[in-house]
Symmetry: D3
Subunit: 160 residues, 6 copies
């Protein structure tokens, strides 16, 4: 990549701006984003046995619900995001030894992609899990929040 | 830490719940949180020379504004956060070689702390920077979102 | 109905989830919902004579406006509702002897129905009428909040 | 009650208006509200055995989370409600033979009461349970949404 | 005024920022703002006779309700406004020959003033009146949106 | 114009109401609105030299961001506005001798126009500029908030 050619889509004449999507045509678009929440081995141990009657149920269900609601709020939170009709949003929670992976998949039929929706959903779900566990461990970190894949855009599909 | 003693403050009788703060007394509380946005060397090069007339101004000012507005929206995003009267919120943007550190400091006079506000502010500011740069680099990651310090709570101050 | 065959559309693998509507085709959809607010004979007496200059104007107009705004906010309030482009929303206020019926009709052109929008609109309009009258009667109840009809869905029209 | 003496607190000179609370002093206030969701015996049967791994977990946890978030949004939904610092909010879900009772308790330290917050919380939690079960039974009704008790106001405590 | 001495409270080190109010003490504060909506003589004629059963009732009551709700949303709309507990908010609608004056008065007990709340309330009430009349006259203008008075701040009271 | 023929689109049977757009067909629509913020010569002098490193950058960029976010929130603020998929939103800031003109252009593909979106965007951008400068001059006024043009509606294009 040649840095001289970099072009900020959201900056025009020195000012921040929305990208004009009015000439684009709507099509089916999906995006997947992921984050890892480093809860630590002690908290993870509380979640073993796939025990939905234990704290795992409330913790992860709350994270999923908060993440879903945040996906729908993305254009309110990120100043230059376009509002999009979210048609599906699913979460997967994958416990590892000392952390959990939170994966958020979003789809729409619109004129622009849902990367930011998937990123925002994964981020708020991770923050909610953090909130529900923070009394137990103040050193929890959220890591590797990133886009895993996107499909449907003019610039081609992307897979990390 | 003995995992048997871990107690989820937000889970009572198998159900998620808000923590009761009605018996606590209000006092001055602060929290600082941080995230690193791995933009990559090419984008960082665009931001050198402390150039506010270049893209840096719009990119980071948009991130600061989005982050500040998200701090005020925290109790709408995180299901069991209490609404708090935010009295101050400042951001620092510290460019490194291949990433930028976004630091968010929040203060209130209230019955509970502003950790989640600082974490949410840093997170949404980082996502906004990601949004404004994502056309240039699809592999941007947000790393190390974490609490740096908090003061004013009954359980004592915390410094990472 | 055989309870063994009941299938929760919003629960997959033990977790709450949005229903995927991406493969559905958009069409015209309407829904009507109703609630009764048992204000009591004394308050209803204040509203006779179709007197818009009396308290009835402000009370019911405020209820209609709050209900209309709530219809547009439904997907923010109900975690797994999809955002829909509301194209029409009307209210009817029908005074009875000791209560008023609040009827909310909503229409859209979308991939899923507007039942929840009509239910939420009737509910918030009823709560607003309650709020404006509660100083006069603490025993007000909201009754029979229910769907009256829906049209346009794949599963056929419904009339209560 | 003499209907001539009825005085609408929210109507002044023929116009709707907020009630002035600036001269009141803040104190601890609580309110409890309740609604019954008539899900029908078939759906209730799915929820027996206190089975959190079955649909009950997701259905009622989603209702509790939506209700808690709605409590915090009350002053956005009901036009003349004052914003209040919610300090506690808890839900109880009590299954009966053919319906469930949803009870919402709210507390604050403020200049006015939290009746509308408790009523709104019970209402949105009931609507969320309705949403999650409506594919199974279109005839679900929400009944008896009402105030159970309030404490802390100048006009004395209330118990239904 | 010496322009060299002008100091932007919301700009620090070239970046926009919130003003820190944590060291201020809370006290009673009020603000009044006003706007004029130039509806034109034809529309104003429809509103004569103080006719609440005619369009005036719905038009101005809708404006008052929208304005009141906007006052409570000010800190969501204006990036660096602090959230404040609104304790009173009233509107006056004063019809003139070819325009109406909309006056909004707000009060709080807080650490900073409610100027922006009063200005935002007057502005959104005026826009709502515009919206409800715009099919009749596309040339409606909103004029003279300004602060009329404020009291309670450290810098002394202000009267325009 | 004959005032007898004036017909309030938002009033039916004495009650405020949304306009039904369900039978209209979607097409490309744009609107431009403008406001002037009378900041006074002293503040304007601080903004000369197109100096983005001075206060102008933060002040006007904050106004643009707040305005863009308000455009997307219009249907939440104006009770009978329909939600629309905003596809573009741009701002121009034109400094004059004693004031600045803020121009907001919005476009959508929808069943109704974006006049209110453009008017709301210009209004909130102007209020944000006011907020950031109000410590320097309490007599700032917002003037001439009005529609400049609209295209795409059935009733034909409009140019002020």
């Amino acid at each position: 990549m040649d840095s001289d050619k970099l072009n900020f889509t959201h900056v025009r004449a020195g000012q921040p701006t929305m990208v004009d999507i009015s000439e684009k045509s709507p099509n089916r678009r999906t995006a997947i984003a992921e984050a890892r929440v480093e809860l630590g081995a002690d908290i993870i141990a509380k979640f073993t046995n796939n025990d939905l009657q234990g704290p795992k149920g409330p913790v992860f269900q709350t994270a999923i619900i908060a993440g879903t609601m945040a996906v729908k709020k993305t254009s309110e939170l990120i100043p230059f995001c376009h509002p999009l009709p979210i048609e599906n949003c699913t979460f997967q929670i994958i416990p590892n030894e000392t952390d959990v992976t939170i994966r958020c998949e979003v789809s729409t039929s619109g004129k622009t992609g849902v990367e930011m929706e998937a990123m925002t959903g994964a981020s708020i779900a991770a923050l909610t899990a953090y909130d529900m566990c923070k009394a137990l461990n103040k050193a929890i970190r959220i890591q590797d929040l990133r886009l895993i894949s996107k499909t449907g855009g003019k610039s081609g599909d992307f897979h990390a």
